[in-house]
């Protein structure tokens, strides 16, 4: 943890990664991916709070911290999804998704159904959750990191 970017990224990613899996709270993501972007913003806020003032806005650092928050967020999301599924949370949604697929008359292959979690907690579901989280969380948390750098950057006093 010597890298000053790691701790803020871990906190920002973990907090919002877990929030993104919780029932009802996860729907905040429907508002412009707010949770994913928020993870990057929080991580950069924490990073810049400890960083020395700089003349130039550190967009590069913001992007890196945001991307790291996305990586940690994806891991947190996957772990939280596994825990919630083991506790039985989310099974109703999976059943609804399966019913919707059946109702539409489309015959999806088994691997797609596994990805959607309709077959319960399996390797396919865990893997697809992680891959999707790492792509989506990575992109939106990086944008959040850039936004955080723009908003929370403290200018050097001349």
């Amino acid at each position: 943890m010597n890298n000053p970017k790691m701790k803020p990224a871990l906190i920002g990613g973990a907090v919002f990664g877990v929030l993104a899996t919780l029932p009802y709270i996860q729907y905040i993501n429907a508002v412009c991916c707010a949770l994913y972007i928020g993870g990057g913003v929080l991580a950069v806020y924490l990073y810049l709070k400890e960083a020395p003032r700089a003349e130039k806005t550190p967009y590069g650092d913001g992007a890196v911290v945001g991307a790291l928050a996305g990586l940690f967020g994806a891991v947190a999301t996957t772990l939280a999804t596994i825990v919630l599924r083991l506790l039985g949370v989310g099974e109703e949604e999976a059943a609804q998704a399966l019913a919707a697929v059946e109702q539409s008359g489309v015959e999806l292959p088994q691997f797609v159904l596994d990805m959607m979690g309709t077959s319960g907690l399996g390797v396919g579901m865990v893997f697809s959750t992680f891959v999707m989280a790492i792509i989506l969380y990575g992109i939106f948390a990086t944008i959040g990191g850039l936004l955080g750098a723009a908003i929370f950057h403290r200018k050097e006093q001349n």
């Binding site: 993104a20 996860q26 729907y27 993501n29 429907a30 508002v31 412009c32 991916c33 994913y36 700089a54 003349e55 130039k56 806005t57 550190p58 967009y59 590069g60 913001g62 992007a63 697929v101 539409s104 489309v106 015959e107 999806l108 292959p109 797609v112 990805m115 959607m116 999707m132 989506l136 992109i139 939106f140 990086t142 944008i143 850039l146 936004l147 750098a149 723009a150 908003i151 950057h153 001349n158």
Partner: protein
């Protein structure tokens, strides 16, 4: 004094945009390509569904965690809703247009780069639109307005990254190093 400093910073940013496209051009190309891929993912499900591809809904499902995807709040193509709602379509399109357009607007981008917090102001119409009554057009338009300036931020990050990689004999080498 602060204003003069901001103007100097803005002029420097504009000069970097104009004089150093090569440093960030590869990154900008990758970024533009990624934006096009995201837009393609948005419009692909109805197009592929119309073409009879059976997994179009699975493609739509990929974006389910970042958008509510309500059909009544989404644009339709060939009778099928796009993969994201009006507002998200505006956000994605606005961001992609921003990435494409900001390098062509050096003076404006320099002004915004000197006052990056102003980017938040562009999200105010979206927030107002979300809080009060809205229509498909207003959701799309406010989404575009909010995301367009955000497209500048990755370009600025790429520009800083390019400045770091300048050779020591480059006239902007010290400038690039002092920015960090």
């Amino acid at each position: 004094m602060v204003r003069a400093r901001r103007q100097r910073e803005g002029a420097r940013a504009a000069a970097r945009f104009a004089a150093e496209p090569a440093h960030a051009s590869r990154g900008t190309s990758v970024l533009s390509l990624a934006c096009l891929c995201a837009l393609a993912l948005v419009v692909a499900p109805p197009l592929l569904g119309a073409a009879g591809w059976p997994y179009a809904d699975a493609l739509r499902w990929l974006l389910h965690s970042v958008c509510h995807q309500l059909p009544e709040r989404s644009f339709h193509l060939l009778g099928e809703p796009l993969a994201v709602c009006h507002r998200c379509t505006g956000l994605y399109l606005g961001f992609a247009l921003g990435v494409a357009a900001w390098p062509l607007l050096p003076a404006l981008s320099a002004r915004l780069a000197a006052r990056p917090r102003c980017i938040v102001l562009f999200a105010v119409p979206l927030a107002i639109d979300w809080l009060i009554g809205n229509s498909a057009g207003s959701r799309f338009a406010t989404g575009m307005v909010a995301a367009f300036p955000v497209g500048l931020l990755p370009l600025l990050a790429l520009n800083q990254h390019g400045s770091r990689r300048l050779p020591p004999d480059h006239p902007d080498y010290k400038q690039g190093a002092s920015q960090q």
